[in-house]
């Protein structure tokens, strides 16, 4: 998954963030700082799982704080499939 694809899933599932803009620089801003709440992140996780037909670990958002970290975790989950 590319950063742009991940950003597209964020945008489709939860719209633009409350603070900041969903661009390349947002890849290293924490979800909390962007203003995404826990249910929005749940919906985003569902969007990722549906798109890639993978299962993400339940605690994915305890383990990852930014889009870049999430991307790495997605790669790991896809490789482990």
């Amino acid at each position: 998954m590319t950063p742009d694809e991940l950003i597209a899933i964020f945008r489709a599932s939860a719209g633009e963030p409350e603070s900041g803009v969903l661009d390349g620089e947002a890849m290293d801003v924490s979800f909390g700082e962007l203003g995404y709440d826990s249910i929005q992140l749940l919906e985003i996780a569902g969007g990722i799982e549906r798109k890639l037909a993978i299962a993400l670990p339940e605690n994915i958002f305890a383990e990852t704080r930014t889009l870049r970290e999430l991307l790495l975790a997605i790669e790991a989950a896809a490789a482990a499939r």
Partner: protein
């Protein structure tokens, strides 16, 4: 507790107009907002008409992050609340968060959102169900999203009394204000226009099968055959009169009286309880029937129910004694939005000194002895108006609205 509580802001989302100005202009002109359903294909159902809001673009009014998580009814309610706040002159962020409460009415919750999630569940499996469904369908979600968007941490709640809800919440809002919450957002917005909500409504057997928008929903008419449903409603800003005076707010009117009753079981031989609700509201307002200038009727649009209402009005106020109107003939019955919109319309009538018309009714039942304002609006000196509402299942409610010395002016 008899402290005066008033309405200082209105937000209207109606099939006949978005916003107070457009809605009021359409109402005075008698515009018919009822048409064939376009949100889904109604041809397979026995009921095919509705009052639809055709010009609402959610993305034009709300941030993109709210759109995936809200049913259309919530989108309408959030925007109506924004407009109500603007109308009242209150900036939500300027008040302490615990000083603002929200109590809205709901009837069907987020049926449209819920139907899509059921479709996902049945056709694609549980993993396809949106996480937002955890709240987006729920009756209290309008209250919840309004309170979150506007930072309102005061008392919050929802009342579900079908079409009486719009009055019951105003009674509750007044109670909350008197108990110490300076500002309460109230009213109701429903969006019952999707197949799932449609089949649920059909079970009431009170909707009209008529296909002619000009002849379908005819309260108090000999040809009455049921009602037409619609989407939308109104949000009202309610404050204590003393607070409204202190900030020199423009006041629409006072919530002078409120009464609610429940009908006896159909098997019982007791009288329907609508008349009692009116009497309770008048006593609460310390207003005599002779002091009331107009009645906004519930208007079920079915012969027996119309007769009960006409008899209740006539027995309290005298036959043909005061103007009676049903402006919801222009929008359809909006469920939790209906009585809220009636209240807003009545307040606009008080502001502009004109009773809006009842449209499409041409042949009034002779045993409904009421002075129905048919066709044209009627200018009249108005200082006190009664609004009635009845909900399926036996709910009755009445509110007395008043302008003048007690209304903070």
């Amino acid at each position: 507790m008899t402290e005066s509580v008033v309405v200082t802001g209105l937000g209207i989302v109606a099939p006949t107009g978005l916003g107070v100005d457009r809605y009021w202009a359409a109402t005075l002109s008698g515009r018919n907002g009822i048409r064939r359903v376009s949100r889904f294909d109604p041809s397979r159902y026995p009921v095919r008409l509705a009052g639809e809001i055709t010009d609402f673009v959610p993305s034009a009014h709300l941030p993109s992050r709210l759109l995936p998580q809200t049913d259309r009814m919530t989108q309408l309610a959030l925007v109506a609340t924004d407009w109500a706040f603007a109308d009242s002159g209150v900036e939500p962020g300027s008040m302490p968060s615990f000083d603002m409460g929200v109590v809205t009415a709901s009837t069907s919750g987020g049926f449209d959102f819920g139907q899509h999630q059921l479709e996902n569940l049945w056709s694609r499996g549980p993993a396809q169900v949106s996480a937002y469904h955890s709240f987006a369908w729920f009756y209290a979600v309008n209250t919840g999203q309004i309170s979150i968007r506007n930072g309102m941490r005061g008392p919050g709640g929802v009342l579900v009394t079908e079409q009486a809800g719009g009055l019951d919440v105003v009674g509750q809002a007044r109670r909350l204000a008197r108990r110490g919450t300076p500002l309460v957002v109230t009213g109701g917005v429903d969006m019952p226009l999707c197949p799932w909500a449609w089949v649920a409504q059909l079970t009431s057997r009170r909707m009209t099968p008529c296909d002619d928008p000009a002849a379908a929903y005819l309260p108090f008419d000999v040809k009455a055959s049921g009602f037409v449903p619609g989407e939308g409603g109104a949000i009202l800003i309610v404050e204590r009169a003393a607070d409204a005076r202190r900030r020199a707010a423009r006041v629409y009117g006072e919530i002078a009286g409120y009464g609610a009753t429940f009908d006896p079981a159909p098997s019982a031989s007791a009288e329907p309880a609508l008349r009692r609700a009116v009497e309770i509201a008048l006593a609460d307002a310390a207003v005599a029937p002779a002091d009331v200038d107009a009645v906004f009727a519930d208007g079920a649009g079915l012969g027996e129910l119309d007769l009960i209402e006409a008899q209740a009005i006539a027995s309290v106020f005298g036959p043909h004694r005061i103007p009676v109107t049903v402006p919801k003939t222009m929008t359809g019955r909006l469920y939790s939005g209906g009585a809220a919109l009636d209240l807003a319309t009545a307040l606009l009538a008080l502001r502009h000194q004109v009773v809006p018309p009842t449209i499409n009714v041409t042949d009034q039942q002779s045993d409904c002895p009421i002075d129905l304002v048919i066709g044209q609006p009627r200018a009249a000196p108005l200082r006190c108006v009664v609004v009635l509402a009845r909900g399926l299942g036996g709910f009755n409610a009445a509110v007395v609205l008043r302008t003048g010395r007690s209304a903070g002016k």
